[in-house]
């Protein structure tokens, strides 16, 4: 688009050509990128990049159940918990577990569990819709992490590092693969927990990776997604044409500035950034707007029903973003930290996500998106097989504490083997005993599913090459399709 405020002679292209040298050609490359999405990777860090090797998954939807869903109440059936309910803990709680009360008692699952599907995965009847999907999911039952507190466990899951500030997984993946839509951010985070001890913008931050790879946030966990907006994305007071008019003058003045004061890569960057902002401003509101979906689709996700409306909307939004080519989408559901009243509260949490997640899987499949979308459902750790009575002695108030030694998660879609149950825990779901998968291994596997070698996806910063998996990580080959 030619701005009416351009110098009359020549045009933008001609002006840039006359500059000559590396700078002018860089700018020209940027112009070409506007015309041809795949061109000029050097100029456009969001342009799609080929993976290291061919792979099925092209994008990720991470359904992030922050707080730590209870494995033995939802998926990891342990008859001995029922048989020995109320008895003292039969295994040693080691020194690192001093936080546990010595008087803790074994506690059975809150609800009935049944084997589901051909694969025979045990599942609680509080997840009826997901239960019907058991054969489409790939189960990891012996996940393990390094921290028993939220802050650490969330950080290592989101960034690969317990104690250091490192780029988030979404930033790494967007850096590795670019994005398929140049009018949208490549990494979107829906309703993250932002504040308090367990929330931080660092969980979706680019840190030292180029800042184009940082997660763009929609809302936060305390605001209903219906009321959430991406910051500064739109100016409701002006029609697009008038906004474009403003932008034309801004860009014309930026170019005048360069013409006057000489070459400057930063001002080139500013000009590009303004263009991308404007395109986002025009495109993004539509993508986030679920009101154009059919009633049937809304119903599928549980939109409009009290318990499922909020998470249903988030999942539906995630599908729209996936469809639009966003590389990494994280959807957060907080409140899985069931220290007390687990009988009541876990049911509530489960109900809130059961239909929406099942609906998302059905919808992705129906649209042919599930094949190349990797859906991941997990929290940051599991919970203890014994109770933690915080407020009262009544069983109704009992809950469970954090357990980094094992938890259950599942993946679906792009490149994972459906109906696989991988990993075993001991008789109490206290520790993994077979096929344990550490968070680093999960990261290596996710990157592998996207066609990225976790040892080769590096970024040189401050004199050394960094990786999402640091010096760890083994791809879990057994679950690959």
């Amino acid at each position: 688009m030619r701005s009416p405020y351009e110098p009359k002679s020549g045009g933008r292209r001609q002006f840039l050509q006359t500059l000559g040298g590396g700078f002018g050609s860089l700018a020209l490359a940027a112009l070409a990128a506007e015309d041809q999405a795949r061109a000029a990777q050097t100029a456009n860090p969001l342009a799609p990049k080929p993976p290291h090797f061919p792979a099925k998954a092209k994008r990720v939807i991470l359904l992030w159940m922050q707080g730590g869903p209870s494995q033995m109440d939802l998926f990891d059936y342990k008859p001995r918990l029922k048989a020995e309910a109320g008895q003292p803990v039969p295994f040693a709680l080691n020194a690192s577990a001093i936080r546990f009360d010595k008087s803790a008692k074994l506690m059975p699952a809150i609800s009935e569990m049944k084997r589901m599907g051909e694969c025979g995965m045990w599942m609680s009847d509080v997840l009826p819709n997901l239960g019907r999907k058991a054969d489409e999911l790939c189960w990891l039952r012996a996940m393990v992490t390094d921290s028993a507190i939220h802050a650490g466990a969330i950080r290592i899951f989101q960034t690969g590092s317990l104690q250091f500030v490192r780029p988030s997984m979404g930033s790494w993946i967007t850096y590795g693969l670019g994005s398929e839509n140049q009018n949208l951010p490549g990494f979107v985070v829906i309703s993250p927990v932002l504040y308090g001890d367990d929330g931080s913008p660092l969980h979706y931050s680019n840190v030292f990776l180029p800042s184009i790879y940082q997660g763009t946030r929609l809302g936060d966990s305390r605001t209903p997604v219906k009321k959430s907006k991406i910051g500064y994305l739109e100016d409701p007071t002006l029609p697009t044409a008038l906004q474009r008019q403003d932008l034309d003058l801004i860009q014309a003045r930026n170019r005048m500035d360069m013409e006057d004061a000489g070459q400057d890569r930063n001002i080139e960057g500013l000009i590009q950034s303004y263009e991308l902002s404007f395109r986002m401003q025009v495109t993004a509101p539509d993508v986030f707007d679920i009101s154009k979906e059919s009633q049937a689709t809304m119903d599928l996700y549980g939109v409009g029903q009290e318990d499922t409306d909020n998470f249903g909307r988030k999942c539906l939004m995630a599908r729209r973003l996936a469809e639009a080519g966003v590389r990494f989408i994280q959807v957060t559901d907080g409140g899985w930290d069931h220290h007390d009243k687990i009988d009541k509260n876990l049911r509530k949490s489960a109900k809130g996500i059961d239909q929406p997640v099942a609906g998302l899987l059905t919808d992705l499949k129906a649209r042919g998106l599930l094949d190349d979308t990797l859906v991941i459902w997990t929290g940051e750790f599991g919970r203890t097989p014994f109770d933690q009575t915080l407020s009262a002695a009544s069983v109704n108030n009992a809950g469970r504490d954090h357990n980094p030694n094992c938890w259950t998660m599942f993946m679906a879609g792009g490149g994972v083997k459906p109906g696989t149950i991988f990993g075993e825990t001991d008789d109490y779901a206290w520790k993994g005993v077979n096929d344990r998968v550490h968070v680093h291994d999960l990261h290596a596997t996710i990157l592998h599913l996207l066609g990225l070698n976790h040892e080769k996806l590096t970024y040189r910063y401050s004199g050394r090459d960094f990786r999402l998996t640091d010096v760890f990580g083994n791809v879990v080959k057994q679950i690959l399709a």
Binding site: D197, I250, N254, S462, F472
Partner: protein, 890 residues
């Protein structure tokens, strides 16, 4: 496993670990309260050490099966051949001419006489023998060769591979039997060899230059000599408008006023610019800007660092101390000493007489940080805080990444693990955390002296406080009592027989109950009583460090784990920074006082260099040493080493005066150049490292915000004092007390300069959200160099944020309210105010076209507007405020 690290442990799986790749970004000790020794990085170190040891065992075992291998501490040593008679002459000459110089120059700074990293010394026969890295006669089996070839996991030297020729020399030497003569003629010369930054500061003579007329001062001679060497011609001079704008932004962070522009442009005297510089340096705004630069290399924030925003309502005292120190041009050595050790004794004055308020706040430098007293593991919390303090002291004053030596000897700089713990001992002997949960987040508080005026005010405040508590109690309890009565009445009424009268009375009572419930719930919800109690008046306090009663040495914490203690490390300083006998630590002192003397010493080779480099960095956009916090082996080499020394010696000669040093730099010719590169110069020097022209750079976020407010006529000149908005709405007042996430800045502060806004550790408050987007400094890190990013979230902010729109509207209103101006004159006024230059005809024409079109657009689109002209002008002002010419400094 032996207690002390070995050569192989002191290598790293990455071979070339970055400055503080492992610990720098340790956010806070409290985060790792549960992880104990499972440092990922260390685990990996250990694994490959095992590998190498096995390899070594195989190799040495096969070569020296008959006991030439010595085993000690479970560790195997290779041996050195002594050389056979008859070969001595040739081998000796070869060794002295080729090998010894190579070992001394390429290995000696870390494995030499002075420093033996990993306990290895490679510059003496005995040392080489004990190091066990050479298998005489078999180069391929020698760990030394593997290390220099960079084929194994240990890569030495870490600063860069040796040349092929050098590697071949070492291989040949070892293959020939690794001969080492009995006498070491050069053994004592090693200490002179080493990294540049540890050498004494010289006062070099300015070099000869061809174009002598170009140079205004020696600074220019150093600059021009390099340019002439490269055949680059410097750019022409910046015009007066540009120069004034540049100097005003650099020195004060604000734009020049119309009057200032007029005065400078019309002053044709040779001292015109010097007058400007003196005016700017004398303005309080200078301290606002340069104080903020200093705060960037501290952990200053107005909250503690533990998830929740626990307010530190006195933190502003340290901020103000820093700002006023710059405005007072406090000598830098004194500034350093005060921040480490508190108020300094003035000669002839007794300690008690001179405790002035501002210098007591100085050790806020040490006590404000990403920590708080809320952890499960107290020993670890204290150690982690001390680590962050040592690391900050290293980066901020010395340009050294000391924190790298927390778990092992520093990989690249001659800083042994034991010396690191010598410094940790200093800070563990210092009280910065109060070690209890009372007070403000457990940060150590020291009372300020109380005079009668303060005592009187305190008494009055206490009186008011008691009254407020009583009121709040009435509100909370009163409602409850009333409620009880009404509830009782309702029960009675319900029990009575039904009648119209009763029903009406019941209904009225129920309504009353609802109202009461609402009122009492409101009181409880808002925690009014708790808030009143939280705000209990107290005598003035300051966050400051104090020596513990029993200062003592600490023990090495293996892998930084406070529960795995090794040998004692005597408190002391760095042997690598060797400029004379270091001060002895008095038995009653933590060692801070002595550390401060040792750092703020004109002979310390790092202190002055690091500081003048920071000043240069802020004025030119790049330091002479690009890595402003790392002057070690992995840092950048200085582009102009002699200039750096010149500036450092000038700083000392000027009595450590910051203002004088800045003045000398700003009055140089090189500072006053235009930003347009001369033809061809960018091909020869693409990054403009030689400064042939001025660097253009985006203004810091504080300056963007401050100048937008300034141009809109909306900048509040208020300075100093508390800024945390501790209001009922903002505070969570049930312990632990913290600021709510949607905290709003109070009106009296809101339009002050950004440096006076509260600084949070997690993310900045909504009204100053711009700080979250434009690369504001992370308060938990020492950041001497902010890296400006350009991303769409920033440009979206510039296009749509209410802050920019509101200020643009104010600006438009101001321009339009002057009825003496026509539209052309309005554009001129805007250009002068915002861009500090006269309007061009193009500006005027462009503005007219845009405003007319926008006005039409607003009317055509039937946008709600009370004044389309005002709105169109606001859009135009907005465009000017978000275009590159405004956002970038030339």
């Amino acid at each position: 496993m032996g207690a002390s690290p070995t050569l192989f442990e002191s290598g790293c799986v990455y071979g070339n670990l970055s400055p503080r790749a492992c610990g720098s970004d340790l956010r806070t000790g409290t985060i790792r309260q549960d992880i104990g020794p499972s440092f990922g990085h260390v685990r990996s170190c250990k694994n490959w050490t095992q590998d190498i040891k096995q390899k070594l065992m195989l190799v040495t075992g096969s070569l020296f099966p008959s006991g030439a291998v010595a085993a000690r501490l479970g560790f195997l040593f290779a041996t050195l051949a002594c050389g056979l008679p008859g070969q001595t002459v040739d081998r000796g000459a070869f060794f002295e001419s080729k090998i010894r110089p190579l070992l001394v120059t390429r290995c000696g700074s870390c494995h030499g006489d002075q420093v033996q990293m990993g306990g290895k010394q490679l510059t003496s026969k005995d040392g080489m023998h004990r190091a066990g890295v050479v298998v005489a006669g078999d180069a391929n089996a020698s760990p030394l060769v593997e290390a220099v070839r960079y084929t194994g996991k240990v890569k030495m030297p870490p600063t860069g591979k040796l040349s092929d020729e050098e590697i071949q020399l070492l291989e040949k030497w070892i293959s020939d039997g690794a001969f080492w003569p009995e006498t070491d003629p050069q053994a004592k010369t090693i200490s002179a060899v080493g990294h540049w930054a540890f050498q004494p500061v010289k006062s070099p003579a300015a070099p000869a230059i061809k174009d002598t007329a170009w140079a205004y001062s020696d600074i220019d001679r150093f600059i021009l000599a390099k340019l002439e060497e490269k055949g680059i011609k410097p750019a022409g001079d910046a015009n007066k408008y540009t120069l004034l704008r540049r100097a005003s932004l650099d020195l004060t962070g604000l734009l020049p006023t119309r009057a200032e522009i007029d005065a400078f442009v019309n002053d044709s005297s040779p001292e015109a610019f010097a007058h400007v510089v003196d005016r700017l340096l004398a303005s309080p705004a200078y301290g606002d800007r340069w104080g903020r630069h200093w705060l960037d290399i501290t952990y200053y924030a107005d909250t503690t660092g533990y998830g929740r925003r626990i307010p530190l309502p006195e933190a502003w005292r340290y901020r103000d101390y820093v700002i006023e120190s710059f405005n007072d041009d406090k000598p830098y050595d004194q500034f350093v000493k005060e921040q480490l050790a508190g108020p300094q004794d003035e000669p002839g004055k007794k300690k008690k007489e001179k405790k002035d308020l501002s210098a007591i706040a100085a050790t806020g430098f040490l006590v404000l940080g990403p920590w708080s007293w809320g952890s499960y593991d107290r020993a670890q919390t204290l150690l982690d805080a001390a680590d962050l303090q040592v690391d900050m002291v290293g980066r901020t004053f010395l340009g050294l990444t000391l924190g790298c030596a927390r778990c092992h000897d520093h990989k690249f700089d001659p800083i042994p693990n034991k010396e690191y713990y010598g410094l940790i001992g200093v800070f563990l002997s210092t009280k910065t955390l109060a070690m209890n949960n009372f007070g403000d987040g457990g940060v150590n508080m020291v009372p300020l002296p109380v005079n009668t005026e303060i005592a009187k005010r305190y008494a009055e405040e206490m009186e008011q406080y008691d009254r407020r508590v009583a009121e709040a109690e009435v509100a909370e309890k009163g409602y409850a009592k009333e409620r009880e009565e009404v509830e009782k009445r309702i029960t009675e009424l319900k029990a009575k027989a039904k009648s119209a009268e009763n029903d009406a009375e019941l209904k009225a009572a129920e309504e009353q109950l609802t109202a009461l419930k609402a009122k009492s719930e409101y009181a409880a919800d808002k925690q009014i009583l708790e808030f009143v109690k939280y705000k209990k008046p107290r005598l003035p306090y300051v966050y400051a460090a104090e020596d513990l009663d029993m200062p003592q040495d600490t023990r090495i914490a293996r892998r930084g784990d406070a529960h795995q203690l090794g040998e004692f490390a005597p408190r002391g300083f760095l042997t690598a920074v060797n400029y004379g006998k270091p001060p002895e630590i008095e038995p009653t002192s933590s060692g801070r006082k002595e550390l401060a003397e040792w750092i703020a010493n004109e002979k310390n080779p790092l202190t002055a260099r690091v500081y003048v480099n920071r000043l240069w960095h802020h004025l030119f956009g790049d330091g002479i040493v690009g890595s402003t916090e790392n002057f070690g082996a992995r840092g950048d080499a200085p582009t102009h080493p002699e200039l750096l020394d010149h500036l450092a010696s000038r700083l000392v000669a000027n009595g450590w005066s910051t203002k004088k040093t800045i003045r000398e730099i700003v009055l140089s010719h090189v500072y006053q150049l235009a930003s347009t590169a001369t033809p061809g110069s960018l091909e020869l020097d693409p990054d403009n490292k030689l400064l042939a022209h001025a660097n253009r750079r985006r203004m810091e976020v504080e300056t963007i915000r401050d100048t937008i407010l300034q141009v809109a006529g909306n900048l509040d000149p208020g300075r100093g004092g508390p800024s945390l908005p501790l209001t009922e709405q903002n505070m969570h007042t049930i312990a632990p007390f913290f600021l709510e996430d949607d905290t709003v800045i109070e009106d009296p502060i809101k339009n002050r300069r950004t440096v006076y806004q509260p600084v949070m550790r997690n993310s900045q408050m909504a009204p100053i959200d711009i700080l979250n987007l434009f690369d504001f400094k992370d308060p938990d890190q020492v950041v001497g160099t902010r890296i400006p990013t350009v991303v769409p979230t920033q440009t979206l902010y510039l296009l749509n944020a209410p802050f920019v729109k509101d200020e643009a509207a104010l600006l438009a209103r101001r321009l339009l309210s002057d009825k003496t101006l026509d539209d052309g004159a309005r554009v001129s006024a805007l250009m002068i105010d915002a861009l500090n230059r006269p309007a061009t005809p193009r500006d005027v024409a462009q503005a007219a076209e845009f405003i007319a079109k926008t006005k039409d657009g607003i009317i055509t689109a039937k946008l709600p507007t009370s004044d389309a002209t005002q709105d169109a002008w606001a859009r135009y002002c907005h465009v000017i405020l978000v275009s590159s010419e405004f956002l970038y400094r030339r």
